[in-house]
């Protein structure tokens, strides 16, 4: 793609993304939030958080070795360390370290 087409595409994408981000604020700026929306406001964040976890696992090959065990093992480390120490950073670092170790060990065998 030529440089000018790339520039046009970049600003087109930027505009559309801004539109998706700004839309709810434009529609509901003045009005009081209806009951149904405050129900969604409470329930959508936990829903989306779980979906983002699953989305992160979309490339995992469940039907061939190691059947997602590496991802599950690393997630288990994250959960256990977080429940145990209640420290987000520590739990993320240990989970990622375990994941990177396992991935690189498997790649070298």
């Amino acid at each position: 793609m030529s440089y000018s087409s790339v520039i046009v595409s970049i600003f087109l994408m930027a505009f559309i993304i801004l539109l998706t981000r700004i839309l709810p604020f434009l529609l509901f700026r003045k009005k009081e939030l209806p009951e149904v929306l405050s129900y969604l406001e409470r329930n959508i964040p936990p829903l989306i958080m779980l979906l983002l976890v699953l989305y992160c696992l979309k490339e995992v090959k469940w039907t061939s070795a190691p059947y997602g065990f590496i991802e599950f093992g690393a997630i288990a480390v994250v959960v256990i360390v977080y429940l145990w120490k209640n420290n987000a950073l520590l739990s993320i670092v240990s989970g990622t370290a375990v994941y990177m170790f396992l991935i690189n060990v498997l790649a070298s065998t």
Partner: protein
Amino acid sequence: MIFKAAFRKTIPVMFGYVPLGIAFGFLLTQAGYHWFFAILMSVVIYSGATQYLAINFFINHAALVEIAVTTLLLNLRHSFFGLSLIRKFSGTSHVKPYLIFALTDETYALITAIDEPEQRSKTRYYFFISLLNHLYWVTGTLIGALLGQVFKTDLKGMEFALTALFVVLAIEQYRKIQSIKPFIIGAFVGIVCLVFIAPKYMLLASILSGTTILLLLRNRN
């Protein structure tokens, strides 16, 4: 201090954004595009999934319509994010446009996980979180784009920090809402969509169907 508190909250995002930004900058420059484009994209688009996809668009000479529709579908979830932030963002007058522009998955996750601070510090707190995350993404991109013109790097596995971040934030969400309903719905639609929907649309499809189920189950608790 507000900045320090915001910085500490964003450290996990830094571990996710910097390596992912490096990978993006690296890939785009390897595809033959000047590092300046990588920076421009991370500043004005600021959406990981979209930017990775854009590399394919550029290489395959995609039509503008195709780019527009795919970008819209891929990012429609942001409208749901905003929906749950209308109240939180009220009274953040002068930085509100930037907060809305910089509303990524991770920034949304952090802001919704934080208990509402006092009104006066709220504006600055949200602003610092949004700005720091944006800076991590741009910094990572810059490093990757410059590396991409010189070296080959291997960052295998580091992106798992993002998965881990979402896991931790899901636990925090549970502690806040004290209800397993949204998680059961999420697990159900998430797994169904992982199996039946193309990865590109999995997030959008699962959010739409999950929200629909939430609405249907509103009166039964």
